[in-house]
Subunit: 431 residues, 2 copies
């Protein structure tokens, strides 16, 4: 890992230090994904079968997970794992439910009531990756808010394994969160199927979930074409840790590594005002990475990662807000007192005993979060991501009398005669 | 206008009846916009000047509206118009403030607290069109929620007029809502400037507002590239009216026309279970359109519009939810009792005295709304559109003891050893 001293860097070097591993979508990826989407739109299930054979090496007659497969999954999952899923889901539900938006009405003038009603998005599609590791945790993170929102149609796609089955833990998590139908489909083809619908796969209004660069590009393309909305742009995972001299170097190193193991393009940054802590973390990282199961992946990610010595914690927060990390760990003595300084981040972890891994699995917060600096303007998945908020207004004749003249003046100023007329007719005046 | 009887249509004819005027972005538009964005990125202000000269016929030395211009605008706007802006802004503020999300925390396990904090998006850019008519109302609709959110940098672009000045009412509305800087820039070049920044125009994290097909395409392209987030995909405006036999045909006709006058590609639909009402509305539309200032535009829009006789109001709501209109007017006897049936729409107007024009200007709700069926999965602009919601979690050692084992089990199941290690270290167990 590179150690840098922030104040000794030029502006250009500072910018370079915060540059993420290259994310530009290769023109090749763009074209491949466009071709796959076109293939699925034109060929439906037959195309899905051919593509799945090509990429996953299996070609199931039916993509949909059957009742028998769900039962087999229940048997394949250990009691301990099932219990962990149940527990985690309960906490995710508590947190998400507490934050649900409420309908409201307010009188804005005598006889004029305005409000919002909240409705579930009718048809949603969830994507759960299973590349280097299947992610039942993602099924929980998407399934729980969809269920709380009350979406009428909830489908989930996850890639088939070599033997044509789906990961049992993903299936159990899906069932526990009320997902209705699961399809063994992965990649851009799964996104295309949920956006446009095929004979087997129903079309969805909005698609959710992380994925590799093909899945991400496919989501962007279907959103761009207006076929389906998406939760947010996704990219390689990342963490930024702000640690003071009192932080536990072994804990900090473990947190950096638990991000680095996600993928070779993951990025981890440490900001600290303590030379001693930075040196200790560097040693701990080397020690811990050596014995990791995914140490090769982690080492690749570490190459693009940085330990940065800052002048002060204030400077650290300024840098963090500029970077807008997906995950932000505050390994500080009084982390709550620093929270006010956080302006842009996906999810924040306070103190020595709140590693990112807790939020990834079971603290209750969502782990589908904005990456690549998108946290400057996007928030993580919540129940609201699965809802429409619809404005409603109601004016009585008295209300029209109260605010109609204002509307009339503005309509005239904008030269919109028919708008003026619609108001004037009700007021019984000339437009 | 075409009158159709829903139950006599085939499924294909029903689908055709709900098809919006073509929205496919021409490859030509896509390329033109991409070239304009590239020109602004490469050439900065000089490019903006050349492009503005080309499209708007003026080339201001400084795009930014000066203090003298703001003062001149104040003098140019009538006292009546200024008062209408002040009044409308006050109601928009009441409605938007009442709906603001609140931070919250909840304990999800002993020693584990999760919550959300809410932060303004730091840098936002507002776009106010001024094509066939300048829209001070849009400046209000974007400026008020940006101000309530507390965004640190709020800039606004609006096209220059032939004489190089900006519309005075837009400037007054911008000032009244706390917009800090206004630039006389329109079209794709304005979007590019706010997304990437130039010498004069500061870069923004998120862009808001409606616009023509070039503006819309430019917003899509900068969002796709990750340069800036956008509020929502925009398209031609539209209204769907559901009216019963008791509705006032003149009012309904006026509402249909106030949508139709927006542009030739606007769409208006009437659904009614009453033949008599439909016939009366058709006559009223002809009568009213003849004397409109923008009757030519309205007539073009009417060509793509439809009066549809439904079997029942229940059927009308099913059709409306399928169409997902931007504006939905319920010209019904007991509109509140039907509200429950509305599943997808941008903004709903209840009863005979709530024309869409009230919501366009001054009921208090926002008029920047999802079009083209996007209301199935997008909501209109609100204060939340200008905010980040950031998850925060905090576990004590006790909290780690309570939920760490759950995280450990899930990390192991996903094969993520470093995640397991980060938890195990704190628990003092082996990963």
């Amino acid at each position: 890992m590179n150690t840098l001293i922030w104040n000794q860097l030029t502006a250009a070097e500072q910018a370079a230090a915060l540059t993420r591993p290259v994310q530009t979508v290769a023109e090749q990826t763009r074209q491949t994904v466009a071709a796959l989407i076109a293939e699925v739109r034109a060929g439906g299930d037959a195309a899905l079968r051919a593509i799945t054979q090509r990429f996953d090496g299996v070609a199931p007659e039916s993509f949909e997970v059957s009742e028998a497969e769900f039962e087999a999954a229940e048997n394949a999952v250990s009691a301990e794992l099932r219990q962990a899923l149940v527990e985690a889901i309960a906490r995710i539900r508590i947190f998400h439910q507490a934050g649900m938006a409420q309908p409201y009405t307010v009188q804005t003038a005598p006889g004029v009531t305005c409000g919002k009603v909240i409705r579930p998005i009718a048809r949603v599609g969830l994507y759960v990756p299973a590349g280097s590791a299947p992610l039942p945790s993602t099924a929980m993170m998407l399934g729980v808010p969809a269920q709380l929102a009350g979406c009428g149609q909830v489908v989930l796609c996850t890639p088939p394994r070599k033997d044509g089955t789906a990961d049992p833990a993903v299936l159990v998590a899906a069932r526990l969160t009320g997902v209705q139908r699961v399809f063994k489909l992965g990649g851009a083809q799964a996104i295309a199927a949920m956006a446009y619908g095929t004979e087997q796969v129903p079309a969805c209004d909005k698609l959710f979930g992380p994925g590799n660069s093909f899945v991400t590009e496919a989501k962007q393309q279907v959103a761009q074409s207006g076929a389906a909305a998406i939760d947010m742009p996704a990219g390689p995972s990342e963490v930024l840790v702000i640690a003071d001299a009192g932080a536990n170097a072994a804990f900090v190193a473990a947190d950096l590594l638990s991000q680095a193991e996600h993928g070779p393009d993951s990025q981890v940054l440490l900001l600290s005002d303590s030379d001693a802590l930075i040196a200790a973390v560097a040693i701990e990282v080397e020690k811990q990475v050596a014995v990791l199961s995914r140490s090769e992946i982690a080492r690749k990610a570490l190459a693009a990662s940085r330990l940065i010595r800052v002048d002060s914690l204030d400077q650290a927060f300024a840098i963090s807000n500029r970077y807008a990390p997906e995950h932000l760990i505050l390994a500080l003595r009084e982390p709550e007192s620093w929270l006010e300084q956080v302006q842009a981040a996906g999810s924040v972890f306070l103190g020595d005993y709140t590693p990112e891994a807790l939020g990834d699995y079971c603290s209750g917060t969502n782990h589908v979060l904005p990456t690549a600096g998108a946290a400057r303007a996007y928030s993580g998945v919540s129940v609201a991501s699965f809802q429409n908020q619809i404005s409603v207004q109601s004016a009585s004749a008295e209300g029209m009398a109260a605010i109609g003249p204002c509307a009339l003046t503005l309509a005239r100023a904008e030269g919109l005669g028919a708008h003026a007329n619609a108001v004037a007719l009700r007021l019984g005046v000339s437009p």
